[in-house]
């Protein structure tokens, strides 16, 4: 039996597989299908200070081995989260990551203050949501804006702070380094890649916002490159994601420098795929005579 246990931001992850933000709700629905406590962690649906109804119009669009989404951060708001959803999530014996979005610095700061007193294990600061028109995006594109944001958040944050990077950043290496310097204790990447689809019969963009976020196996090779770049640019640990659909994919991210990984779109392809991935990772390590997953983190 190979060891899959990893320490990340001072928390023990029983395995490196975390359900990705926005693809797993608050775990409740998937827990009807399998015990989500078997996962290393769950990253919550992206939360905002106030509840949000999200975007109008088509929200999902399939592409060749990819998925575009424009959910627009529909969520119950932080107050509801802290009084209700967090308690559901806490029942599962796994790490609870609160994914926090926002349009302005104040949104982030007020959000963090609320989460400070809650039971979440890690805050994942989402400076990269591509589906909000005003503001949200810029935080994730320019390294100097990201630096200022993370620095301010770090100043008041009482929880381990992981910053989620956007693949739309001007330079992933510079962005990663800026966030580290500003006090991020870990980085997660990638969020979805800005993309477009057109309904050629209607002669209109498919999404009301024109662009939407691309995820899934199609983006994996790009995500892996970015995780490798980020890992080379910083000393802090990394949570890698983007298209992971198999143990092989997960191991690639880990070898490229991720300590833990998130699985998003693949949950839609096969509801219990995370369990397959955990099982197959262990088998891979065993077959290769690798006794501990920690031995291969970042070996490339």
């Amino acid at each position: 039996m190979a060891n899959l246990k990893v320490e990340f931001l001072g928390k023990v992850f029983k395995n490196p597989i975390v359900a990705a933000s926005g693809t797993f709700g608050f775990g409740e629905e998937y827990n009807e299908i399998y015990d989500v406590g078997l996962l290393g962690g769950i990253s919550s649906k992206g939360l905002t200070l106030n509840s949000k109804q999200g975007n109008e119009g088509i929200r999902l669009w399939e592409t060749p081995m990819g998925l575009m989404n424009s959910i627009g951060l529909q969520n119950p708001g932080l107050e509801s989260f802290i009084s209700r959803e967090i308690n559901i999530m806490k029942q599962y014996k796994t790490n609870l990551i609160a994914n926090l979005g926002g349009n302005t610095l104040d949104d982030y700061l007020n959000g963090v203050l609320l989460l400070n007193d809650s039971d979440v294990d890690i805050i994942e600061l989402n400076i990269s949501c591509p589906n909000i028109k005003a503001g949200g995006m810029a935080f994730g594109i320019k390294a100097d804006i990201a630096y200022a944001t993370v620095k301010a958040v770090r100043g008041i944050c009482g929880k381990p702070l992981m910053v989620k990077l956007s693949p739309n950043a001007e330079s992933i290496s510079e962005m990663a380094a800026a966030c580290e310097e500003a006090g991020a204790e870990a980085l997660s990447l990638i969020n979805t890649i800005n993309a477009m689809a057109i309904d050629i019969y209607a002669k209109k963009p498919v999404f009301n916002n024109y662009y939407a976020g691309l995820s899934g196996p199609a983006v994996k090779p790009i995500a892996l490159r970015m995780v490798h770049q980020a890992a080379k640019a910083v000393m802090i640990p990394i949570c890698g994601m983007g298209g992971i659909s198999s143990a092989r994919d997960a191991i690639e991210f880990i070898m490229a420098g991720a300590s833990i990984v998130q699985v998003g779109t693949a949950n839609f392809v096969k509801t219990d795929i995370c369990l397959d991935i955990i099982r197959d990772m262990e088998e891979f390590l065993h077959s290769q005579g690798i006794r501990d997953i920690n031995e291969i983190i970042g070996i490339i």
Binding site: I58, P64, F268
Partner: protein
Amino acid sequence: MESNPMMKTSITKILENNRICENIFEMVAASDIKPLPGQFYMIKGLNGDYLLPRPISVHDYQDGKIRLLYRVSGHGTNQISRMKADDEVQILGPLGNGFDVESLNGKIAIIGGGIGIAPLLYLVKNIETQKPDVYLGYKDDTFCADRFRPYCKELTVVTEDGSTGQKGYVTDFVNISDYDIVITCGPDIMMEKILRECGEKNIEVYASLEKRMACGVGACLGCIVNTKDGNKRVCKDGPVFSGRDLTV
């Protein structure tokens, strides 16, 4: 309308996958969980070059076998239709709320349009109190209409081109005011018309809705419909909605 007593992902061999007409197919597969009428499954062939499973309603269920009636309307359903007996298929379900058949009392009209008739057979078979009147509208080919006959009081078949049954739109042949309850599934334009008319006449109405889906279980918030009570998930809070709640 309590939902999903149980559901699971299974990988199973297709028992049958037959063409019914033009581009309508029927798949039969084993499933040990008895679905509620109106529930659906997320279906994916193991070797398809499409990413997401496709939502397909239960058309019938008997002796541990589900029947799915589906139309080839794009790339994914095209590939599903090319599968043969013994090929492996991934099935998640039953999903969604389904119809609360026990609450259906009174004179019932069931109105299906096109492939929207798929979920209605299993519903009709499970209405116990009183046989409903069934109205089925088609463009031309009138597939599977005969399957409804044993379970309904009256069956009205309508085709747009008049090739079988009455000629015209199915909605023109229903006198909504004759019924206590109306249930519909079909093209948006047809359902909207019925919802509006029932609303005006204050008649209880249920519609089974379709939205693009990713997770199928209520987690991704991709399949939202606006209701009077805010956003609802078609896959989890639906696909069956009461006209009272919809904003049409």
